[in-house]
Symmetry: C2
Subunit: 223 residues, 2 copies
Amino acid sequence: MSTTGARVARSAATREAIMAAAERLYAEQGLSAISNRQISEAAGQGNVTAVSYHFGSRLDLVRAIMVRHGEEVDALRARHVAEVGDSTDLRDWVRCLVRPVSEHLAALGVPSWQARFAVQVLTDPVTRDLIAEEALGRPGLHAVMLGLRQRLADLPPHVRRARGEMARHLITHTCAERERGLADRTARPHASWSDTADELEDALVGLFTAPVTHPHPRTKEPL
Amino acid sequence: MSTTGARVARSAATREAIMAAAERLYAEQGLSAISNRQISEAAGQGNVTAVSYHFGSRLDLVRAIMVRHGEEVDALRARHVAEVGDSTDLRDWVRCLVRPVSEHLAALGVPSWQARFAVQVLTDPVTRDLIAEEALGRPGLHAVMLGLRQRLADLPPHVRRARGEMARHLITHTCAERERGLADRTARPHASWSDTADELEDALVGLFTAPVTHPHPRTKEPL
């Protein structure tokens, strides 16, 4: 390998080490408890400014970790969408929301930190905005939203949107609880990520198809 | 008022000011972005160590804010439970989960910060443990859990527990999104907290009553 090639490879390895250390420390101790210095040290970097050298700000590091997982989940999602084809069964489309997340987490092994890290990022007022826009641009997610929308054409648009948001909360937070349970051994023994996905799919089909008390919103709103 | 009485009153007012400032700053900028010094300053305290003087640690301050709201919500909850009596209608019991939260937030006015603060506290690995145990000891919540359990006696215990967790996530995160929408004026115009509660109740009745794919867990577990 050329000297430049070696340097690039070393830099990529350092970035990986920093991302892994950050995700773990944030998941275990919280976004608010961990400094860039602690991350650099946990990543085995002698230079305590390694985070800023390789990523810029803390927000850039958080974004890089979320983008990495987001892309992997969306690739799985695109595969599920292709399998589902033009199914008219709501559950098939709900599965396209749930399985890519549970399968990605299952593939990370035990313990993983991604789900516990993600829920903090998604509830922090600054980091959530970093992620929201980007997630909407993912092609797999876009295809699932379209498929779900067609299956839920009878729901008033404001209810469909509200339940879509609810689905997102349910999936991310249920998976984070399970990840925590696996890490500290309080999760149901022998239950698998696939069982959790089944439970989420059951619940979400019920949620999406529940009767609507107020089918007409009190005000007009854009479709 | 005696000198001691005046001092006690002044100290109570300072604690109030610190709690209000902390909740607002944490909600708007994030648990991880805000220092105790910033909170002391925003609370109009000349002494930048006011947080530690009045509360001890940051965790003690977070706990004090959560306990305050938790007690108020639970008082509303006890009232709903009394109204529901021995109703056998699942929706009545779902209402006892949802309404105390939405009514408490409605009473705080616009903008409020409690819901956005709470979701951060509940996803942070350290602060969540502070809160969890205490919440379980609240009498109103305990009564609702019992009522729900009787209405959901046909659900396998592991599914009932999982759906109870899901309900908690749905309520807290949906309310936080609405609070944010009200604060930055992106919420549906004219929709009220009561409309949000109706939407949550619809969704939760669907979630709790959805058919179960795996009625038998793969392993024995305590009831």
